[in-house]
Amino acid sequence: MKTRKLSELAKTIRSKNAGVNLITFDIIFAERSTYEQVKRSRVLTRETVSELYRVAPDRIADFVEFDPANAIKFTIYRSRPSGSPGDPDIFGAQQYAPLLDIEVPVE
């Protein structure tokens, strides 16, 4: 089956703090049809992101398919609160990179 990278399909792929102990990820699509296609492909689910980010499923605080914005959104607990010594990303702004190369099956 042919695949395309998520970075070619999504308009926005970003991460950011949602409070001091959570990082939230937004994957936003310009077209409804692309959004629906990625949803159907099941490449982004609680299970797949838990594996990709090496976090236990119970460390995923939220997973939402947000139709009004053609977006898939999930939120993980940090391993320690933002800004604790050794935390390399106080704003949580550079945690999205592994999502870019996810291969999405396309018809």
Binding site: G19, V20, I28, F66, P98
Partner: protein
């Protein structure tokens, strides 16, 4: 009043200067209120802990100056929330002082300057805890204990609309707020003018980050929100930006774990039934948000606790063999610190390594950590009760990497490269100790308000 129009020039006033051109266009649209939030817990616990701001005073004064001059020339209220990043008392006093200075500098006619504080003294919180109040943990935090309270340096409470409304009722022309929920800075004037809470809180939600609700991406540009009795319309002021259904709906997701709900003191904004509709090229109309008042009035608290003084060091590695064995290099240096100060937990210190080029940005979450780059930079941090100890820990933890003994390394004259053969003092290390909520009987009890006069009266000219 059939509608109320508010402009927001900056999602985090003072953090990066407002873009003046789109702000001027916003002012030319003759808004009824000019408002911005100046705070964020994104900046980490250090500013709250050390009672500082993250940005130079000049940047804060720049934004306040533009807003104050526009507010006074249009004769409409100016409202600022979460002054100086943290909204601590010293930051409120700083902003009140800047407003007074600017009023003198520009010889502004008299106006009423209102402000409120948000800091809660540790002993006051302890008294409430001992009286049986549960300070309930958020986002995985346990309920607050007295031990964690003891470890805390400073605590601010997150205001809702209430102190802003009280000051508007008292006739304030300029309001400088302590720590507050971003959305409440904008919801307050709308509620004050009798618009429904459902739409008022949504107006605040959509405006709080300024142009982050517009596309294409471009921060610090002004947006205008208009509320009527049945809708909110948001419009981008920059000629090249548009508020579209996608950009506005997308903004509901920003910086929150769930895109449908926004919690503030006193209730929750539910956006699950929002309808979005493009009304012109640059504007989107929103209907259907709902605000549910909470059965119990709970206020969010934020507190930072000091861990210790901190030094940082940096090294580079280019030898592929050493890169493959970098964990052994770090272990060697850790061991030398342990020989001098004992184990980290017993020695009361912390030693941290971020290995850039391998997993420096993502740590244990990095899926590619088994494929390091051809060169690495390692950031070393030593944290200890005193500066002297932190410096020595960081120095051993950095310099001993040079002497690490790897069995088959070809280069035997030094395992790492130094760009600086020194360690540098950094800000003390803090952590978020308080991320909790507290029940209150009165929405205003943690937020004392004050109203004073500012500007130059006729006799002084």
């Amino acid at each position: 009043m059939r509608s109320l129009r508010i402009i927001c020039p900056n999602g985090h006033l003072g953090f990066a200067p407002i873009r003046v051109e789109s702000f001027r266009m916003g002012v030319e649209a003759r808004p009824d209120v000019i408002a911005a939030d100046s705070g964020s817990d994104d900046v980490g616990p250090i500013p709250l802990g050390t009672d500082t701001s993250t940005s130079p005073r000049a940047w804060q004064a720049h934004d306040l100056e533009h807003m104050l001059l526009a507010s006074r020339s249009l004769r409409v209220p100016m409202i600022i929330g979460s002054s100086g990043d943290t909204g601590a008392n010293s930051r409120v006093d700083l902003y009140v002082g800047i407003i007074r200075e600017l009023a003198q500098k520009h010889r502004l006619p008299p106006f009423k300057l209102g402000y409120f504080y948000s800091q809660i003294p540790k002993e006051e919180l302890r008294r409430r805890m001992r009286a049986g109040e549960t300070v309930a943990g958020l986002e995985g935090y346990d309920d607050l204990t007295e031990a964690e309270l003891d470890a805390t340096e400073r605590i601010v409470a997150m205001a809702g609309v209430h102190p802003f409304i009280k000051l508007l009722e008292a006739g304030a022309d300029v309001i400088i707020g302590g720590r507050s929920s971003d959305s409440c800075v904008f919801a307050a004037p709308a509620i004050h003018h009798g618009f429904p809470e459902d739409l008022s809180y949504y107006l605040g939600k959509v405006l709080e980050c300024a142009s982050f609700c517009a596309e294409p991406y471009g921060g610090k540009e002004t947006v205008l929100g208009e509320i009527t009795s049945d809708a909110v319309v948001v419009t981008a002021m920059h000629p090249d930006q548009r508020c579209t259904v996608a950009s506005v709906a997308g903004h509901a997701m920003y910086e929150r774990s769930n895109p449908y709900f926004e919690h503030v003191a006193g209730g929750t904004l539910d956006m699950s039934h929002c309808r979005y509709e493009q009304v012109d090229a640059r504007s989107t109309r929103i209907t259907g948000p709902q605000f549910q008042r909470a059965p119990e009035f709970r206020v969010k608290l934020e507190g930072a606790g000091r861990i210790g003084e901190r030094y940082v060091g940096m090294v580079g590695i280019r030898d592929p063999y050493t890169i493959a064995h970098v964990d052994q290099v770090i272990a060697w240096a850790r061991d030398k610190v342990r020989e001098r100060f004992g184990p980290e937990d017993k020695g009361g210190y912390g030693l941290y390594y971020n290995v850039y080029g391998r997993d420096g940005v993502m740590g244990e979450r990095e899926p590619m950590r088994d494929r390091p780059a051809h060169e690495l930079c390692i950031l070393v941090q030593g944290v200890a009760p005193t500066a002297e100890m932190a410096e020595e820990i960081c120095m051993i933890g950095t310099r001993q990497m040079f002497y690490a003994r790897l069995p088959e390394v070809k280069g035997s004259a030094g395992s790492v490269a130094f760009a600086l053969d020194e360690v540098l003092r950094a800000s003390p290390s803090y952590r978020w100790t308080v991320n909790h909520t507290l029940r209150c009987d009165d929405p205003l009890e943690l937020f004392p308000t004050h109203l004073t006069a500012a500007g130059i009266d006729g006799s002084a000219r």
